[in-house]
């Protein structure tokens, strides 16, 4: 039996993550990730098969630790990235939250996401969508994201993708 408190821990954390991206509260967002967090957006190998091994196959994004995400924030805040100026506005929707595994200090969560992205420069908008798998771990900092795998279903990408588009 998975205690309902675990479901609400997972739900709260995933909602928070989405809200912080929408509100561009980058420091609060990255604080949700453990130092050793793996962040992985696999490519599709074919129309039907996802890539399964980031060490042998291309990923859209693969970071073995939170340091990769920190690099992304440096770029976002640099003010020197044309693709980031002006910033896109987003609305992250997270639903279908399902606990796959639960232990005292460890939760495996699957969720479905859709992210609406508006580009104020070209006045265009698009939706990216897919599902995510989170591993949450409990430590001295409370519950943190220790692994996140993001499956992007519509992978004929637009002209730019950044972490806040996913």
């Amino acid at each position: 039996m998975i205690p309902s408190t675990h479901v609400s821990i997972a739900t709260r954390l995933l909602y928070r993550e989405a809200a912080l991206l929408d509100e561009r509260r980058w420091d609060d967002w990255i604080a949700l990730f453990a130092q050793h967090c793996e962040y992985w957006v696999p490519t599709w190998r074919t129309e039907a098969e996802l890539a399964t091994d980031p060490q042998r196959e291309l990923s859209h994004i693969y970071y073995a630790s939170r340091a990769g995400l920190e690099d992304r924030l440096v770029r976002i805040r640099s003010g020197r990235s044309p693709a980031t100026t002006p910033m896109r506005r987003t609305a992250h929707c997270v639903s279908n939250i399902e606990l796959l595994n639960a232990a005292e200090d460890r939760l495996e969560v699957r969720s479905t996401w859709a992210n609406h992205v508006f580009d104020p420069h070209h006045r265009t908008q698009l939706v990216l969508f897919g599902w995510s798998e989170h591993r949450l771990e409990y430590g001295s900092g409370g519950w943190l994201i220790a692994r996140k795998k993001i499956v992007l279903q519509n992978d004929q990408l637009p002209a730019m993708i950044d972490i806040y588009c996913l």
Binding site: V41, P42, T43, W44, R45, T46, E47, A51, P54, Q55, R56, E57, L58, S59, H60, I61, Y62, Y63, A64, S65, A67, G68, E70, D71, V74, R75, S78, R80, S81, P82, A83, T84, H122, T124, D155, Q156, L157, P158, A159, M160, I161, D162
Partner: protein
């Protein structure tokens, strides 16, 4: 030269108008291109026919269809193409179109099958393109005229490979592939000879669409001039890594400050091709480096040394190899005058050590991915060009001028030492950032467009390279 106001009201098919689009007066120190070249939808339709359907187009790697009955699906401009590897060991390229009623025959991007069966009425073709079954033919009340007719898949006009790179042409009236590639073969060798067992695409599909003209991408791969403005955010990230402020070192990325102190240059070649190069400051950061002794023994000192240089090349009109961070093949497919579909491939030695492959992947994703640190800033500029270039009132764009004053006809010392004969060479320290590579592209574009509109053959010397 006719006035721009006049040019805009003239029809795109007018040869006088076409002749004004590329202002090619190098003897007077001028090379300029008209905004319509990137922004006119009339010209776009014409270039599908006169450019994309009358020259060699890169289709894929032989290693993508290594086994009998393997196939891959691709495009030449807006035309669907199927490349097969038949049981007789021969690779062939066809229009990916069923003869019955013209639907797309093969609906998956790749696979392995003995027979391609059309989803509409079930006509079946073997991997050599022969129609092997007209479903229910005996009961069909067909005439003898139908039976006599050919029902096989229609092959492209020409199909050939060079060092594992497959090319096809809609028109049969093209020179032999090796002639078309010419001096580029040396530079293609530098990519395709990095692996002792050949080269492959690392699995994983990377495709994106930008709202801009294909020529924005055509130019950008050779454009060293934009690095120090478009990619400042990447350089800031990279500086933090170089100073060990960032803990993300997996890509083993290059120190741009060191690169900017190197010598480099640009070459133009016949048939629209070009190459830019830059000497390498940190050759140990090249994924080819761990195998360089094996490579040197196999291909010789000259090629091994060139493999360590940064090189970006364009095979006109739609194939590029960038060996600047890790090794990339890029193709682009014009969909509309302001819409371009890109495919990125990570090219790597077959049988590469797992540790090197991992590093190659991280380096590639870091720089080249549209979800990475560099490419999105390029595509942002392409989309802005598509907006800006509608203003033909600005007159000719001035982006092919850097380096004209220092370029020389023929090879420079470096090319001569490599036994390569460019049409022009421009070299200097990095900050030259020559734009002379553009001359090859737009001369070839103008040549194909003008001869096409005039109803003349694209390649007067070509007898036709049969499949």
């Amino acid at each position: 030269m006719i006035s721009l106001a006049k040019s805009r009201i003239m029809h795109a098919m007018d040869s006088q108008y076409l002749a004004t689009l590329v202002d090619d007066r190098l003897a007077q120190g001028v090379f300029r291109v008209h905004p319509d070249v990137y922004a006119s939808s009339e010209l776009f339709d014409a270039e599908q026919k006169h450019v994309f359907e009358r020259t060699w187009i890169f289709l894929g790697l032989e290693s993508q269809i290594a086994k009998p009955n393997d196939y891959l699906v691709t495009w030449i401009g807006r035309l669907p193409v199927l490349v097969t590897h038949a049981a007789d060991g021969v690779r062939r390229a066809f229009f990916n179109v069923c003869r019955h009623k013209g639907t797309v025959l093969c609906r998956l991007e790749s696979g392995n099958t003995r027979f391609h069966v059309c989803g509409y009425h079930g006509w079946a073709y073997d991997a050599a393109g022969r129609a092997v079954d007209i479903k229910d033919q005996p009961s069909g009340g067909y005439t003898e005229a139908f039976t006599r007719d050919n029902h096989d898949l229609v092959p492209l006009g020409a199909f050939a490979s060079y060092k594992g790179l497959m090319f096809g042409s809609v028109s049969a009236q093209v020179p032999p592939l090796e002639t078309f590639l010419g001096e580029m073969r040396f530079f293609l060798d530098l990519a395709m000879e990095q692996g002792a067992q050949g080269m492959e695409f690392v699995p994983g599909r990377i495709g994106f669409t930008y709202n801009g003209n294909w020529k924005a991408q055509l130019d950008n791969s050779s454009d060293a001039y934009h690095l120090t403005s478009t990619h400042l955010s990447f350089m800031e990230v990279q500086r933090r890594r170089a100073d060990s402020v960032s803990g993300n070192q997996a890509a083993r990325q290059f120190d741009w400050k060191k690169r900017f102190e190197q010598e480099g240059g640009a070459y133009t070649f016949l048939n629209g091709h070009n190459v830019i190069w830059l000497n390498q400051s940190e050759d140990t950061k090249r994924p080819v480096y761990p195998q360089i002794d094996e490579v040197r023994a196999r291909v010789g000192d000259l090629k091994a040394e060139w493999m360590l240089r940064l090189r970006n090349l364009t095979v006109f009109p739609s194939m590029q190899i960038a060996d600047s961070t890790s090794l990339l093949i890029r193709t682009f497919r014009p969909v509309a005058v302001d819409r371009t579909e890109m495919r990125y491939y990570c090219l790597a030695p077959i049988g590469e050590a797992a540790e090197v492959r991992q590093w190659r992947l991280r380096q590639f994703e870091d720089f080249f991915n549209v979800s990475g640190f560099a490419t999105p800033d390029d595509t942002a500029m392409y989309e802005d060009m598509a907006v800006g270039l509608k203003a033909a009132q600005i007159g000719y764009v001035q982006g092919y001028a850097r380096g004209i004053g220092v370029q020389t006809a023929g090879p420079d010392a470096l090319a001569r030492a490599a036994g390569v004969m460019p049409i022009s060479s421009a070299s200097g320290m990095f900050d030259l950032q020559a734009e002379t590579w553009g001359h090859a592209l737009y001369r070839e574009w103008a040549r194909l467009m003008q001869s096409g509109v005039a109803g003349e053959p694209a390649w007067p010397q070509a007898a036709g390279a049969a499949q």
